[in-house]
């Protein structure tokens, strides 16, 4: 587990610059909201996602989240078709705050161009790259 300024970034995941994580599971990927983003958003009250069967594109809308009075987009980290969405998280979105890489996953996607797109993501094992990306994000926003 990589810990960057207090936030967790597990090494076996990939990270999209719009604050989504990707876990490769056979021919599918599981995706979610990263630890830094959930903390920046605050306690989540709503999670809405596109439906199972709908297609998504990397960097385009997968859904929306709401913490008290703030609505933010969830961007899909890969292109493909939504195979599953986390109904428990849709009912109780604060599970994303409690366990962003476990029970707080958002969706499972059947990717259409995974090999090429993984190349655009930051590898969790690349601590230096993760750190410099997150430092730049924080510099922009604090």
């Amino acid at each position: 587990m990589v810990k960057i300024e207090g936030n967790d970034f597990p090494e076996d995941l990939y990270y999209h610059r719009d604050h989504m994580w990707v876990k490769v599971e056979g021919d599918k990927v599981r995706v979610g909201y990263n630890d830094w983003a959930q903390e920046a958003a605050g306690k989540l009250l709503n999670l809405n996602t596109k439906k199972v069967g709908r297609s998504v594109k990397s960097g385009k809308t997968l859904g929306t989240v709401e913490s008290g009075k703030w609505v933010g987009p969830l961007k899909s980290p890969v292109s493909g078709e939504i195979a599953e969405v986390n109904e428990e998280a849709r009912k109780e979105p604060s599970v994303i705050n409690d366990d962003p890489y476990g029970n707080g996953w958002v969706a499972v996607i059947s990717p259409s161009d995974l090999e090429a797109e993984l190349g655009d993501l930051i590898k969790g094992s690349d601590g230096a790259e993760l750190e410099s990306w997150l430092a730049a994000e924080k510099a922009k926003h604090t």
Partner: protein, 363 residues
């Protein structure tokens, strides 16, 4: 020092008042418009729904239709409300600005400091209340919501000159008129206005001037008065307006987090009026006004039969001021049984505790 644009759109139609900033956000995202502060007022009344809210659950659609009140689902968070000419809107749209933190709590705190100082200069001792409220002596005095449009950050809110409390309560869907009355009286108690605080409404121009001056001073930006660009009006006409006029948008399917049983209406910072049902062998219905974790007042009804009948009023009285914690609630219920010797067939003290604790689930 950052240079920002000021758009003062004056009195605008409800759709422009509530959604034009989305077109500005799209233009800001595309990099063709600068960071912008918009000031305006709606020129006529409308009802407004939070982005993730369930239209039919929140709004009294029949009333809105009969009264010709448009309903707009805003793209920002927060709850259902009624708006009219007596609120001055500020809409802050930016991208990559150093004065707008990405951390949401920090963003609200910094941008709402402008609202707080504006009220103070108008003569009202307003304060920021974490996470995102502006209050005067504990009462709400400004409504706010925020969000992201692609790379653009948005905060919208209002300076409340005056408020039509009755219409505010009237546009919302409620279980019955008693609930509505409770809601209206709670709004009167917990939401204030410049008119109430000052005894009169200051001129709209003075509110604009004060807000813009404070915005420049506190945030360290320079505002330049301009008009919207042709590109922004084009985005508004071709993208924003059709989206908001579509049935898909207004009747948007909402997440199951909105589908909780019972009814809860947020009145102000930490204050809600709620109704929760517990179906034991008989129905127990609790209505309560709650602030933070504390019951301000409660009503206990249902189809159970209590002997003596008046005993239930003792329970209602005893619930005032009680914290919504299982042990505290069950103590009150036990004491109520002990002190009144009440007989309630097929209902146990535990059923009352469960019913009352359901209120907490709606908070």
């Amino acid at each position: 020092m950052e240079s920002w644009r000021l758009l003062n759109l004056g009195y605008s139609t409800p759709l422009v008042a509530q959604t034009f900033y989305e077109a500005v956000a799209e233009a800001v995202h595309r990099g063709v418009s600068p960071n912008t502060l918009i000031l305006l007022q709606p020129d006529s009344p409308y009802a407004c729904l939070g982005y993730h809210q369930d239209l039919e659950k929140e709004m009294d659609l029949e009333f809105c239709e009969e009264s010709g009140l448009p309903i707009i689902r805003r793209s920002q968070g927060g709850g259902a409300t009624y708006l009219d000419r007596d609120q001055v809107f500020y809409q802050i749209v930016s991208r990559g600005s150093e004065i707008v933190p990405r951390n949401i709590d920090a963003m609200f705190e910094r941008l709402l400091s402008v609202t707080v100082e504006t009220y103070r200069r108008l003569g009202v001792p307003a304060e920021f209340k974490p996470l995102n409220d502006v209050v005067v002596e504990g009462r709400k005095i400004s409504g706010n919501g925020a969000g992201m449009h692609e790379s653009a950050s948005i905060l919208v809110g209002n300076v409340i000159l005056d408020l039509n409390y009755d219409l505010m309560a009237r546009v919302l869907r409620v279980p019955d008129e008693k609930f509505r009355d409770k809601m209206a009286s709670s709004m009167r108690e917990w939401v204030s206005t410049l008119k109430r605080e000052l005894g009169e409404i200051p001129p709209v121009e003075k509110v604009h001037y004060t807000y813009a001056a404070v915005f420049e001073e506190l945030l360290g930006v320079e505002l330049h008065r301009e008009e919207p660009t042709e590109e922004e009006w084009r985005i508004f006409e071709e993208e924003t307006k059709p989206r908001h006029n579509s049935r898909e948008w207004l009747y948007m399917e909402v997440p199951p987090s909105q589908a909780k049983e019972g009814r809860a209406v947020k009145i102000a910072h930490e204050v809600k009026v709620v109704e929760a049902d517990h179906k034991a062998a008989k129905l127990i219905r609790i209505r309560a006004e709650v602030k933070g974790g504390e019951i301000l007042s409660a009503q206990v009804r249902g189809d159970f039969f209590a002997l003596p009948k008046e005993a239930v009023f003792r329970l209602e009285e005893a619930l005032t001021g009680v914290r919504l914690e299982e042990s505290a609630v069950s103590d009150v219920v036990e004491r109520f049984y002990d002190e009144t010797d009440v007989q309630i067939p097929r209902i146990s003290p535990g059923d009352f505790t469960t019913a009352i604790m359901k209120v907490k689930g709606l908070f």
